[in-house]
Symmetry: C2
Amino acid sequence: MAHLYETDGQAIYRQSFATIRAEADLAPFSSDEEPVVVRMIHAAGLVGLEEHVRFTPGMATVARKALQAGAPILCDARMVSEGITRRRLPMDNAVICTLQDPQVPELAKAMSNTRSAAALELWRPHLKGAIVAIGNAPTALFHLLNMLEDPKCPRPAAIIGCPVGFVGAAESKAALMAATPAPALIVDGRLGGSAITVAAVNALASAEE
Amino acid sequence: MAHLYETDGQAIYRQSFATIRAEADLAPFSSDEEPVVVRMIHAAGLVGLEEHVRFTPGMATVARKALQAGAPILCDARMVSEGITRRRLPMDNAVICTLQDPQVPELAKAMSNTRSAAALELWRPHLKGAIVAIGNAPTALFHLLNMLEDPKCPRPAAIIGCPVGFVGAAESKAALMAATPAPALIVDGRLGGSAITVAAVNALASAEE
């Protein structure tokens, strides 16, 4: 017997977001932040994620404006850049991931760092006013913070810092919030990842649910 | 002051997996399953995920053998296909995602279903003996189950069924385990997603940690 299920994509989104809004504690978030958190919970399939989501004041507004002005989106991993829904981008914004650039393996060796961190050196020409979306590697977020300690390094408009895992993830995100070289959004602790990061970008890019 | 952090990728993996093995309850899993579960926990940043991971008996062994024999990997989303580490694949296995095929939007309209489900119709020529990796859309998993109700539909070697979310995810995974048209691995309930699915494929593809 054939399985029966909801096949209307819009109805699935509507029902999912209604469930999240019924179950999650979204009261601490501003109306500008709330749809971002809802989409992050949706991507993770995890009510309770909201307890770990932190915005610096005004980050959601700043990031939206930057995207509407055409800011490029700099991603640490292909799973992030591939997940961003192109038709949601308000200005056909560039989505850039430099991890597969042929220069990166040599650069990583020279820097004694991971390829994920080395790839950020190739962000420099695009970094000014960009939206940074780090959803995988703590080493990438740490290296960005070190790059931004140089006052001559161009400043991004906002940083979505959601690396995931057991070594450096919690520490790099805490360091981002302590330094705040740009308006920032994190998931504190071990949780994070490409899907959650993509969800944040997609929510900031368009108000459409 | 520059942030100091672990920059050796291999050391990061080693330390992460040691933490997971110290904290997670992996006793219910066979030695063939255990490294798969460890990598799934790693991708999610979530000890406790193991309580939701279910294998049909022998699935891990069957999936490994199929990959070693050159089975293609069929993915429901680009975030899944892009995440699979090519150098871990034992036979330079094909990694296929049909979601962006230009036929899909028309097909979805004709089927009154999502693009994710419609894309699976284009899997038919590759399905025999393949590894299926569904990490996003419950509708894709439901449609696969319906396709496999036809005895003339080619059988995959194994199914990694880890769609995520609030509508249909739990139900489609329960339906997979009830029907078991092929050896299967799921994360039950709402949790799942592309990163967890990719982690399972990467662990089954190679014993390297």
